[in-house]
Amino acid sequence: MGAGPSSDAPVAIVTGAGGGIGRGIAITLAERGYRLVVTSRTAADLERTRELVEEAGSSGTVVVADLKDPGTPSLLLRSALDSFGRIDGLVNNAALNIFVPFWDQPDRNLDDMIETNLTAVFFLCQEVASYWVRNALTGAIVNISSAEDTIAYPDQVPYASSKGGLLSVTKVLALELGPFGIRVNAVSPGSVDTEMTPDIYRREAPKLIPIGRLGEPQEIGTCVSFLLSDDASYVTGTSIYADGGYMLL
């Protein structure tokens, strides 16, 4: 561990940061000097992410919250401001996927996936963007979409619908927030190796993915880090497909 980040280091919120891609994003951003607000529903997982953020030389604040709770956006913004005094980036990574054949998907699954993957994302964007606009500040937002915002997989109609909606809402956010100096983009991952990845995916990867392997969470993190950074100062309203070429096959 180094001297820790300076008090004017940038700050980002990462949702769904208790594991998988969200944790990978948090670590990558920490390595690049961001201080982090990490959130999910499980305290122990978030504590582990915070340790990893600190090992990467930065600092993190843990917020245990359910994104479906309408009070969560203001809670997250307040934690960033109370802990670090600023907010520069928002990464909407949390999402829910429940695999059921289309004709058997109950309304409850549809409601949960649309709420978590689309509605909650919009209102968190709105909360943070409103703060930036009110205070004449600027910032950047990255929404983690999916290759499924474009291509179909079985048993995931509500999930694919939520991601199609997310890709489109990313564009309208970019359109309307552009004049305020706020950029909004997406990263659409293909298959990423996480705790939840079934072994068969790893075995099949050489056949299904031109690059020949699954992605690492940090390889989504580097895309997010680019889109948040000034290197992407002219990039808005688009998505980077980080899928090892999966969509080419």
Binding site: P70, T119, F122, Q126, V157, G164, S168, V172, L173
Partner: protein
Amino acid sequence: MTGRFSGKNAIVTGAASGIGRATAHRLAGDGANLLCVDRDEAGLADLLSSLGGSHAALTADLSLAQACTDVVQTALRHWDRRIDILVNAAAILIRQPILEHSRETWDLTIDINLKAPFRLARDVVASMIEGGIRGAIANVGSIEAVLPIAGHAAYTASKGAVTMLTRSAAFETAPYGIRVNAVAPGATATGMNADLRRDDPDRWREMLSGTPMGRHALPEEIASVIAFLVSDEASYVTGAVVTADGGWTLH
């Protein structure tokens, strides 16, 4: 009546106005039996009298899950368990700047424009699989899914979602011979923009100036695409989102 939809049973939502109404006329003109669904009771009555024949109508508020269930159950009862075609044309558009977009606006838009087509398609597909019916579903998306318009946040989200509802439902139902497609209209003169055309004609003209064809679509020009997509002419077309926008998205 004879025609390419002769003997086919079709549900059309949003049938009281605009694209839905033109689609109802088009399908009925080609011989389909219709169940016309809308929340606008007077509009439905007017449609039925203009259609003639023995079509059915159901007044329902599709923002409610129960209403969606009732629509499919009514159709199955009415037609002895056989639905061949579903056209999801009902939708709303509420204009609000992005930072003022309210939770009420968002939820109502998502409920009507996304969840209702999902629920109706899900239940119709279940009945088609059960009955071995090789049916067809058409959704109405929008070019706004790819080229957004300021003030339309919830609408944009709902239409992006409908695009992927179409593609992923098509993927899963293709092995059963069921086809799911969408049309993505550009500016079409309907009830959805009647107020804008009346109150702010300059803004409407400005929008059209970006359309290479230099004019808006008539609802009949979208209905004809929908009719193609649900007909046997489109027997190898599934998961398609057919743009009908006078060239709007070309630049």
